[in-house]
């Protein structure tokens, strides 16, 4: 086996809504969707990146207390969570396709120093940069 990151998670306000977004609008696939009572372990993977799972986790008791869950939901909704970067081969084409599917873009594709990037948010407020690296980096 090789070493590396297997799962990294983001907090989402509503896991059904997040699933609809990441699978239905962004084209990810469900990797694991396992429930135990109120708890739901939900991860998705990008079709081109089968060894990495993006966790779509709801901040909730008993993992965190209710007040902390509320704070985390607020932080996500205020766009305060760390940056996420999605790499694509053609930013403008991906922008057009995703916009048609109803993805909320916060910045249109813009070229800077040979890279083209755009920004979008998921329904919870997590912010993504969508990056088409210049060919030399790819």
């Amino acid at each position: 086996m090789t070493e590396g990151v297997q799962v990294a998670g983001i907090y989402v306000h509503d896991q059904d809504e997040a699933l609809e977004f990441y699978v239905g609008k962004l084209g990810f696939e469900v990797h694991t969707d396992a429930r135990n009572g109120d708890f739901r372990w939900l991860t998705v993977k990008h079709p081109d990146q089968p060894t990495f799972q993006l966790g779509l986790f709801k901040p909730q008791a008993p993992v965190v207390d209710d007040a902390t869950a509320q704070s985390l939901n607020e932080a996500v909704a205020k766009g305060a969570m760390p940056p996420l970067v999605l790499v694509v081969p053609d930013c403008r084409a991906a922008y057009d396709a995703m916009r048609k599917r109803g993805v909320e873009f916060t910045q249109e594709p813009t070229e800077r120093y040979g890279n083209v990037d755009a920004s979008f948010r998921d329904p919870s407020g997590n912010g993504w940069k969508m990056l088409e690296p210049q060919k030399a980096w790819a």
Binding site: K78, Q107, D117, R121, K129
Partner: protein, 165 residues
């Protein structure tokens, strides 16, 4: 669409809509952003919007807009050869004088001084996505510009100045 706020100000769904208004300012900080326009995006009444926004993001909406304009002006000064007049208009100011004064009040130096200084620095951040570098260099404006001006030097104060760019 404007709806009455019945939810608590801490409702994540309300915060998410306030974030949408902030995102729209980010995407077009050179445009005019009256409270009515922002309130409509957030689905909050005009009477409540500024308070809700400040509660959520720590600064009033127009001060937030001003930091974005200054941030963008700094990037243009650093990364382009555009004349300072063009940068002032491109970033949303109606007068070069106001731009220069607010810029100096916020950053502590004139636009041309910043441009000269930035050009002599080596660029070590080229591996970091550009937008994150810019966000990190955004002016951290915790007080009103008029207040900052008063604290920095009484000779520069102007009672009629407002922070609305």
């Amino acid at each position: 669409m404007t709806v009455v706020v019945s939810a608590s100000p801490k409702d994540p769904r309300l915060l998410r809509r306030l974030l949408r208004a902030r995102d729209r300012m980010d995407a077009a900080s050179h445009e005019e952003w009256p409270v009515s326009r922002l309130a409509e995006i957030s689905g909050v009444s005009e009477a409540h919007f500024s308070r809700c926004f400040k509660d959520a993001f720590g600064v009033p909406p127009h001060r937030y807009l001003l930091t974005r304009r200054i941030e963008r002006a700094k990037a243009l000064l650093r990364d382009t050869d555009l004349p300072i007049t063009a940068i002032a208009f491109e970033t949303g100011w109606n007068s070069l004088g106001t731009f220069g004064r607010v810029f100096r009040d916020v950053t502590g130096e004139s636009p041309s001084a910043l441009r000269d200084r930035e050009r002599t620095l080596p660029h070590a951040l080229e591996e970091v996505p550009h937008c994150f570098v810019r966000a990190a260099h955004r002016p951290d404006l915790k007080i009103a510009v008029s207040e900052k001006r008063r604290l920095d030097g009484p000779d520069m104060s102007s009672a009629t100045e407002t922070e609305v760019p």
